[in-house]
């Protein structure tokens, strides 16, 4: 019966109900879209890392995960040390440089060695670099910037020429000759990290153990560990940002419900008086307001989930950024919204419950 009362109240003011759910739904959409974007981008990066074809990655001492810029390592150790280790078939040093804030944006590499390691680069258009100011870009970056072989592209204050477009999913969106990149960022002879390909994946633990013993300060990961590290929680800014958006969502849910229920309680003062004259307790009134707030919150969550599909479709259609529908976040978004709605219902609910029945009945 409480449900019916709530339902009829919601139906009685359809515009108010719709607007409230819409306002509650917007932050839900925001949260879900943001989470979908981070998951999409991070999973994309993980795939990209796997596509390199290496087994072990070696990073310099003191570097932090995902701060990929800088080239502190002397590249001579690649050939003089790593390539000579037992079971190491191929050692490739790379220079990473973020551009335009793209995750795993630009990498300098010896293309021949990299092809060997990754099993070849597949060109959709054009081919490998021929000149020192050539770049190859992946289909994602190419479609985003409408690039074709022969086009000029400006990166790191330099004009480069696109020599080829490769099928994405490997290493980085943009690949340049390692020497040119080292020169541009004044790190001649230096590299950011080293990829190792072994003769047999079964030897990964043994090689890692040996390397860790001999290079105690270096960060040595298997590729499996590396991809496992691609996780929202390992991106401090991202998880912080999601936290902020969740906070904003809770506050908006709280405010919308608070305002909406407050006005509803005002409008229904007389009805609350009637219910009290029938013997409804304060708890009954409070529960009624609370259930209505929860209904608005639930409606907002559903609408928000629906709208997140819309946002997903729009992003997929117009912005070539990987975005995922992360269903595991639906209950989280619902929980956040319902919590906000519950708190929002508290003040109006208590006000309604404490109405003096005679005054409420006299209310016009």
């Amino acid at each position: 019966m409480t449900g019916k009362l709530v339902l009829e109240n919601l139906k009685h003011r359809p515009m108010r109900s719709l607007l409230s759910t819409l306002l509650i739904g917007v932050p839900v959409t925001l949260i879900l879209t943001l989470v979908g974007l981070s998951h999409g981008m991070i999973n994309d990066s993980a795939r990209r890392t796997q596509g390199i074809g290496a087994h072990i990655i070696v990073r310099p001492p003191g570097s932090s995960f995902l701060s990929l810029s800088g080239a502190p390592l002397d590249q001579r150790i690649v050939d003089n040390f790593f390539a000579r280790q037992p079971h190491v078939q191929l050692a490739v040093g790379v220079v990473n440089q973020p551009v335009e804030g793209i995750f795993l944006g630009l990498t300098g590499v010896d293309l021949e060695k990299f092809s060997q390691m990754s099993g070849g680069v597949e060109y959709l258009e054009g081919g490998p670099f021929r000149a020192s100011d050539d770049v190859i870009v992946d289909d994602y970056y190419a479609s985003q910037h409408h690039l074709h072989p022969g086009d000029a592209v400006r990166l790191l204050n330099t004009t480069w020429r696109v020599s080829g477009v490769f099928r994405g999913g490997k290493l980085a969106h943009i690949i340049v000759p390692i020497d040119s990149l080292q020169q541009k960022i004044s790190s001649t002879g230096k590299i950011s990290q080293i990829y190792l390909k072994l003769d047999n994946p079964a030897n990964i633990p043994a090689v890692m153990q040996d390397l860790k013993k001999r290079l105690p300060d270096y960060q040595i990961y298997s590729m499996q560990e590396m991809t496992a590290l691609y996780n929202v929680n390992n991106v401090p800014l991202l998880s912080g940002f999601i936290g902020v958006v969740i906070g904003v969502g809770v506050v908006i849910g709280f405010l919308v419900v608070s305002l909406s229920m407050y006005m509803a309680v005002l409008q229904r003062t007389r009805e609350i008086g009637i219910l009290k004259s029938l013997g409804a307790s304060n708890g009954f009134i409070l529960r009624m307001i609370w259930v209505e707030a929860l209904a608005l919150g639930a409606g907002g969550t559903l609408l928000g989930i629906g709208m997140s599909f819309g946002a997903w479709g729009l992003i997929a259609a117009f912005v070539p950024i990987p975005v995922e529908i992360v269903t595991s976040w639906w209950p989280i978004a619902a929980g956040i919204t319902l919590a906000g709605a519950s708190f929002g219902a508290l003040y109006p609910g208590l006000r309604a419950a404490r109405h003096d029945p005679i005054e409420a009945l006299a209310y016009e």
């Binding site: 019966m1 409480t2 019916k4 009362l5 009829e8 109240n9 139906k11 009685h12 007389r270 009805e271 008086g273 009637i274 219910l275 009290k276 004259s277 029938l278 013997g279 409804a280 307790s281 304060n282 009954f284 003096d356 029945p357 005679i358 009945l361």
Partner: protein
């Protein structure tokens, strides 16, 4: 006038409303006894305290001083929760303005009262008969704004008695009705009283309505000045 068996016993009842810094004496030492099964009319000029008396007997507001006993509840010592229970179980209200919940159908208005009293699950064979008695069986699926005043008041009566309260308090139940509907509603109240033994207190302005009761008490300035 005193009767130890009264279902309602009121002695020296005072009610003071504080409005800003002014004390309004709504009831000034009122005595009243109502027997179970009685149909009592209450008349008196506007502002004489009739509604206030109902609000106290019905547990909508506490008395300021005096002794009030309603069906074995001592109202002076009742808490807010106790008064809520009294409204739920012991009294039913019928108002001049009907006071139906506008968003619910007539049927649901009645069902809400049953729900609040925790009686939703219990079947009530006698209630169908009451609905026929009230002549509203065919109007139950309409919302109040689709019902005439007379129909609304009959639904309100049905809602007030659905939980079988010991006492029905009707505050000017015909005040918003034309004479034909007034007659119908008054007839229903008399029927309820005669057939079900429902104790009824009815406030009215209209002397013709007052004669439906067994007795009439006259109020003035917060007191009962005459009983006929």
């Amino acid at each position: 006038m005193s009767n130890a068996q009264g279902i309602i016993e009121v002695r020296e009842l005072r009610k003071v409303y504080r409005v800003g810094s002014v004390d309004v004496l709504a009831l000034r030492g009122l005595d009243l006894t109502v027997n179970a099964g009685e149909f009592l009319s209450i008349v008196g000029p506007s502002g004489s305290g009739k509604s206030t008396l109902f609000h106290i007997i019905g547990g909508l507001t506490p008395p300021t001083s005096g002794h009030v006993r309603v069906a074995d509840h001592d109202l002076a010592s009742l808490t807010d929760a106790g008064r809520t229970r009294l409204r739920k179980q012991t009294v039913g209200f019928v108002f001049q303005k009907f006071n139906l919940l506008p968003n619910l159908t007539a049927r649901d208005n009645i069902a809400v009262a049953r729900h609040i009293a925790g009686m939703d699950q219990k079947p009530d064979p006698q209630f169908e008969e009451i609905l026929r008695l009230l002549g509203i069986a065919s109007r139950l699926d309409h919302k109040p704004n689709a019902l005439s005043g007379g129909e609304q008041q009959r639904i309100a009566i049905a809602r007030a008695i659905v939980n079988r309260p010991a006492i029905l308090l009707a505050d000017e139940p015909t005040g918003n009705l034309d004479s034909e509907n007034s007659c119908a509603v008054l007839g229903i109240l008399r029927n309820l009283n005669e057939r079900l033994g429902q104790t009824i207190l009815m406030i009215t302005h209209n002397p013709e309505a007052a004669v439906y009761g067994h007795h009439t008490v006259h109020m003035r300035d917060g007191k009962i000045i005459e009983r006929t």
